[in-house]
């Protein structure tokens, strides 16, 4: 078990299994098909991401360095949250990028019945340590417990 301390981008607490991307998450490419064709598991559709392609993202603790790609990224995340297909939480090893930040804040401000805690700046060691299916707990103060 290890604990990592990060910055709270969007508050909340949750426990969920991890799914890990070591490369940047292309939000549009990853979520689009799932949102479009009613995939409740939000299976990652980005063939350029070998870590995540074909894996479930909904309800998982999505661990990643940053998001990349289209400036639709923020609103895609917002839509995933609105349609209850969002990850249980998003945990960034680096400081969050502007597109993911937009999505996290939009969801937190505009969706009263959705919670997706987002923590950033967890550090490179976090992303090196965490593996798929490890249990992740996000605490109220931004501490992330990995076991």
């Amino acid at each position: 078990m290890k604990e990592f301390k990060g910055r709270i981008v969007a508050p909340g607490t949750v426990t969920a299994p991890a799914v890990v991307s070591h490369g940047g998450l292309n939000t549009l490419a990853s979520f689009q098909k799932a949102l479009q064709f009613g995939d409740k598991k939000a299976t990652c559709g980005d063939q350029n991401n070998p870590d995540l392609y074909g894996k479930q993202m909904a309800g998982k603790a999505l661990c990643l360095p940053r998001t990349i790609g289209s400036t639709t990224g923020g609103l895609v995340l917002y839509c995933a949250c609105s349609m209850k297909r969002q990850p249980a939480c998003m945990l960034f090893s680096e400081p969050i990028d502007s597109l993911a930040a937009a999505g996290a804040v939009l969801a937190d401000v505009w969706l009263d019945d959705v919670s997706m805690p987002v923590i950033d700046s967890l550090g490179e060691e976090f992303l090196n340590f965490v593996k798929d299916d490890m249990s992740i707990t996000v605490k109220e103060d931004g501490t992330v417990v990995v076991e």
């Binding site: 981008v9 940047g24 292309n26 549009l28 490419a29 689009q32 098909k33 949102l35 479009q36 064709f37 063939q47 350029n48 940053r66 990349i68 790609g69 289209s70 400036t71 639709t72 990224g73 923020g74 609103l75 895609v76 917002y78 839509c79 609105s82 349609m83 969050i96 990028d97 502007s98 597109l99 930040a101 937009a102 999505g103 804040v105 939009l106 937190d108 401000v109 505009w110």
Partner: protein
């Protein structure tokens, strides 16, 4: 964040709950990046990335309805990214069925919303809103609330305007509020280069290949590029702007670049020179071998790697008038050399409606039509997002399209050869 009394009043809800939430969104967004104030948006027009009535984005349209119902309309008119569909673009019955019944089912509704919210002109749908023909061309130093990564990087770099890499919805909210948070690329400090990129190629580097290499190296940092000016003729003319349009789009999509400086070419580099380079800037050398390495690193995700291409897309970002005429001449000459009159692969050139209109007034339009090339105003990415399009072997000279879709990247010369000589590679 330090808010003015007017801004604080909005946040407190004195102008309604919807506007309060907009303020809250932008304040929280800005605070994450160290913004301590909100500054006025000063450009004449905004630009929005969301141009498509995609069924999957229904929550976005519901949010926009909230803005409209609350009377929170944009204080600026705006352009938007390209429309997704055009009957002139080749597609089969099943592709069309999916486009119309599963994907862009909300297109009409969404365009109605855009008109209500302040679309600048009924056909103002292009990712190259800054083209003279379109007229959304901010001035140096103006503060924008734009999205669309290729437009943001162009506005910052080639025009010297100031804009962060905003997401869709944030773009509109900045316009509705009239303020954006002051951080990142709006600040002098944020516009300093953390990378020096030295171009040491023996010939003019392919714009989208160079952009890809630099984007993947620097990611979201600002690069100061030395040695590219000589390949651009030493000045920011139309040809250089076209080159930088494509270059920037690749940096922004293959990495996350929002601003680059090209020594002796881009306005801030011309004005401030190497003062724009931050202390301890890293160095990246790009030579012929490095470009070759990057090109070879692209994954080919076609099921049959040697398949004969079924479609060629050019124009992501949209082509300039100069590119349309230049390519018309190249194709005409290449076909003549091969003893052919038509291109061998269905080929679509995409451009802004206003640019296409201008092109139609030139003799080149008829020449291009004769070659079989189709011109369109769509976003090729929106076409490729159809699962059936994804399975097609499509080729492109756009590194942006390559990054987001299954389209396979080739250089301009390779594309010309394939569409005029035929066959896969």
């Amino acid at each position: 964040m330090n808010l003015t009394s007017e801004q604080q009043a909005i946040l407190n809800g004195e102008k309604g709950d919807t506007l309060a939430r907009i303020m809250k969104t932008l304040v929280r967004y800005g605070e994450l990046f160290g913004a301590d104030s909100m500054v006025p948006v000063t450009s004449k027009y905004n630009h929005l990335v969301t141009s498509f009535g995609l069924k999957a984005l229904t929550p976005v349209y519901e949010l926009m309805d909230k803005l409209i119902e609350a009377g929170n309309l944009s204080t600026q008119k705006f352009s938007a990214d390209p429309r997704p569909l055009d009957p002139n673009v080749p597609s089969n019955f099943l592709q069309n069925f999916i486009f119309k019944n599963f994907m862009y089912t909300r297109q009409e509704d969404y365009e109605r919303q855009l008109n209500q919210l302040g679309l600048m002109e009924k056909d103002a749908f292009t990712c190259t809103c800054y083209m003279d023909e379109v007229g959304n061309t901010p001035a140096m130093g103006e503060v924008l609330s734009w999205s669309e990564s290729s437009a943001v990087v162009y506005a910052n770099s080639v025009l010297g305007a100031r804009c962060n890499r905003n997401s869709g919805i944030i773009d509109l909210m900045g316009s509705v509020l009239g303020y954006v948070p002051y951080f990142g690329l709006l600040t002098d400090e944020g516009r300093k280069a953390k990378w020096i990129v030295r171009i040491e190629t023996t010939k003019k580097p392919e714009a989208q290949l160079l952009g890809s290499a630099i984007g993947m190296k620097v990611m979201e940092d600002v690069p100061y590029i030395v040695g590219l000016d000589k390949w651009l003729g030493g000045e920011l003319n139309d040809a250089a702007k076209t080159y930088l349009k494509d270059f920037g789009a690749a940096t922004a999509s293959n990495g996350a670049v929002g601003l680059y400086h090209v020594e002796n070419i881009t306005p801030e580099a011309v004005k401030y020179g190497q003062e724009l380079i931050a202390e301890d800037a890293q160095v990246y050398v790009v030579d012929d071998a490095e470009l070759e390495r990057v090109y070879k690193s692209y994954p080919v995700i076609w099921k049959k790697k040697e398949a004969t291409p079924k479609l060629c897309f050019m124009g992501c970002p949209h082509m300039s008038l100069e590119q349309l005429t230049d390519w018309t001449q190249k194709i005409q000459e290449a076909l003549k050399k091969e003893g052919k009159s038509k291109v061998c692969i269905p080929t679509v050139f995409t451009a802004a409606p206003a640019v296409l209109k201008k092109f139609e007034e030139t003799p080149y339009a008829a020449i291009l039509k004769e070659t079989g090339v189709i011109t369109s105003y769509i976003c090729p990415l929106m076409y490729m997002n159809n699962p059936l399009s994804e399975k097609m072997p499509v080729i492109t000279s756009s590194n942006k399209l390559r990054t987001y879709t299954s389209a396979r990247y080739y250089t301009d010369a390779e594309i010309l050869e394939q569409i005029t000589k035929g066959g896969g590679k």
